[in-house]
Every structure is written in C-alpha cells, then in structure tokens.
C-alpha cells in the first residue's frame, strides 16, 4: 500500500461525503419504513453496498413486491457496474486476486469517477493506482455504513407525519437529473417514466422492470435516429 496516495484518494473523495450522508441516512430509514428491523438496514448496507439498488429494493419490499421482482430490479440497477469494472480492469491487471476482489466489492459510481479520472491522466504503477482507489473507495464505504446505521437506528423514532418516505423519490430525482445528458437519455427516461405510471396496476410490481427495459430500448432507438 502506498500511503501518501491512499491519503490523496481519501482527500479527493471527502468533499462529496456531504451528498452521501443524507442518502445513507435515508437508506437506513427506508429499511425500517419497509417493515424490517434496523439490523436489516445495517446488514443490507454491508452485504449489498449500492445505494440506489438498496433504496429501490426497500421501496419494493415496502410495497409487498415478491422477492424475484426485488432481486431483478436491484440487479438491473447494478448492471452499470459491469461498465465501470471493464473500464478499470486494465489498470488493476497486475494486482493480487484478494486486492481485485476487495476493489470489486468497493466499486461505486463515485470511486469509479475519481479513479478513472486519475488513471487516464497519470502514468503510475499498479500499486500506487490501487492505493488511490482504495483510499477513495474505503472513505465512501465507511461513510455509507455509519450513515445507514444512524438512519436505521434513529429513523425508527421519526413520526410518520413527517412523510420521510418521500425522501426516497427525492434521492432518485437527485440521481436522475444529472444522468440525463442528451436526447437519447431523455427518451429513455421519458419512456420508462410514462410506462411505469401506466403499468402501475400490474401485479407483483412488474411494471417497474418492464418500463425500465422499454426505456433502455427507447434510448438505443433514439440514439440510432438522432445520433
């Protein structure tokens, strides 16, 4: 481990923690709102460690969706990690297998964004690159675990009249808006949103995966027509 570079990773990621803490608190609260125990909230963060997927899964569990729909939705959301994994893989080629597995478990949107930015702009040995990545990724991991635990144990005490469940779609809005960068993204989002509303009566919450799939197809179609 290259200590100064590890600390650079920690330092680079720190400013965005302000955005991660409320998200983590809400993920903890959402576990309790979905009818589970605070320990489920903490355990889920340790096992899954993926905010958007955790919130979507808890939202569905709260709506009594069947296990298969919960699992499918969470995994569809996490499919984006394949892209990050492919993009980072060449830089980690010489790392040990335990390091690669740890790096995989810790992979997040944020750790990816900071690391790829550095890796593509500087020539450094694998050991130094891995140190930077782990510094950034572990900082996010610790913050996520502490804030979901706080949300899970303190959230149980929040009165229902505060409508704190509404924080979940608000987090999704905060993630959705920057994800729309061009017409194809907008086409994907609009198609999925409208279909999700129209299909809301479908059993087992099947409307969500169907609408999302239609949205992805619409995005690809728009990109072909309007390059």
């Amino acid at each position: 481990m290259h200590r100064p570079t590890f600390l650079e990773g920690v330092r680079d990621l720190t400013p965005i923690l302000l955005g991660v803490v409320p998200f983590g608190l809400i993920a903890g609260i959402a576990a309790v709102s979905a009818g589970l125990t605070p320990f489920h909230g903490v355990g889920m963060s340790l096992i899954v460690f993926a905010g958007a997927a955790q919130l979507a899964a808890l939202d569905l569990i709260g709506n009594a969706a069947p296990a298969l729909v919960v699992i499918a939705t969470a995994l569809i959301i996490n499919t984006r990690f394949v892209m990050y994994s492919a993009s980072l893989a060449p830089y980690f080629q010489e790392a040990s297998t335990p390091q690669k597995v740890a790096a995989s478990y810790l992979l997040t949107d944020q750790a990816y964004a900071f690391s790829i930015n550095r890796f593509t702009s500087r020539q450094e040995p694998t050991r130094v690159r891995m140190s930077y990545y782990l510094g950034a990724a572990l900082t996010l991991w610790v913050t996520w675990q502490v804030s979901t635990a706080a949300g899970a144990f303190l959230g149980a005490a929040v009165p229902e009249a505060w409508s704190l469940d509404f924080a979940i779609p608000l987090v999704f809005i905060a993630l959705l808006v920057p994800a729309i960068r061009d017409r194809a993204d907008a086409g994907a989002a609009a198609t999925a949103a409208i279909l999700a509303v129209l299909l809301v009566g479908l059993p087992y919450n099947l409307g969500l995966p169907l609408a999302a799939t239609a949205g992805i197809i619409a995005g690809i179609a728009v990109e072909r027509v309007v390059p």
Binding site: L18, G19, F23, G35, L36, H40, I47, V48, F49, A53, D59, I61, A64, A67, V70, I71, T73, A74, L75, I77, N78, T79, F81, V82, M83, Y84, S85, A89, F92, Q93, T97, Y105, W162, S163, F166, I168, P169, L170, V171, F172, I173, L175, V177, P178, A179, I180, D185, A186, A188, A192, A193, I194, A196, V197, G207, L208, A212, G215, G219, I220
Partner: protein, 105 residues
Amino acid sequence: MSGSAAWAVFAIIGAGTLVLRGAMIVLWGRLSAIPPTVERGLRFIPPAVLAALVLPALLVSDGVFTVGPRLVAGTVAIVVAWRTRNVLATIGVGMVVLWIVQALT
C-alpha cells in the same frame, strides 16, 4: 416480506452485485470485451430505472392517480436538482415544499 426472507433477498442481491462488479476486474484477460451494442444499452439503465421509480412515486398514491402535494414537491425538486446538481438541496427543498403544501391542503 418476513425478516428471514429479506436476509435471503439481500444475500442474493449482494452476491449478484459482487459478480457484476468483479466480472471484468477479476476475470480480465479471460473474457472478451463487452460488445458495443450491450455497452450502449448499459448507458441507459440509470435514466430509465430512476425515471420509472420517480414518476409513479409523484403521481400514484395507493394505486390511484393523484395530483397532490407529492407531485408539486417533486416538480420543484426536479427544478432544484437541474439548477443546483446538489443532492442535499434537492432533498431539503423537496421535503419543505411537501410539508408546506400538505399543511395548506
């Protein structure tokens, strides 16, 4: 969902997510690259899934279309997210607008 069923669901999501995250990093060189068509499709997952989660949460309440405080607060939050790109501001303004509209109606 029962508590033990939830643990099983978390375990499956966790294992599946680790495979998605690790596939290329751990198996690099043993797998061929992702086909470009698949990669284009992957790009649309976040906007599609998030939009499919957001609009019903603003428009539908207990299975019925409802134009109410959640739609108003959500619309304001979308504007805030667009102008500020700030998670904290989006959540904060959205919640406050919801409380105000709920108190007024």
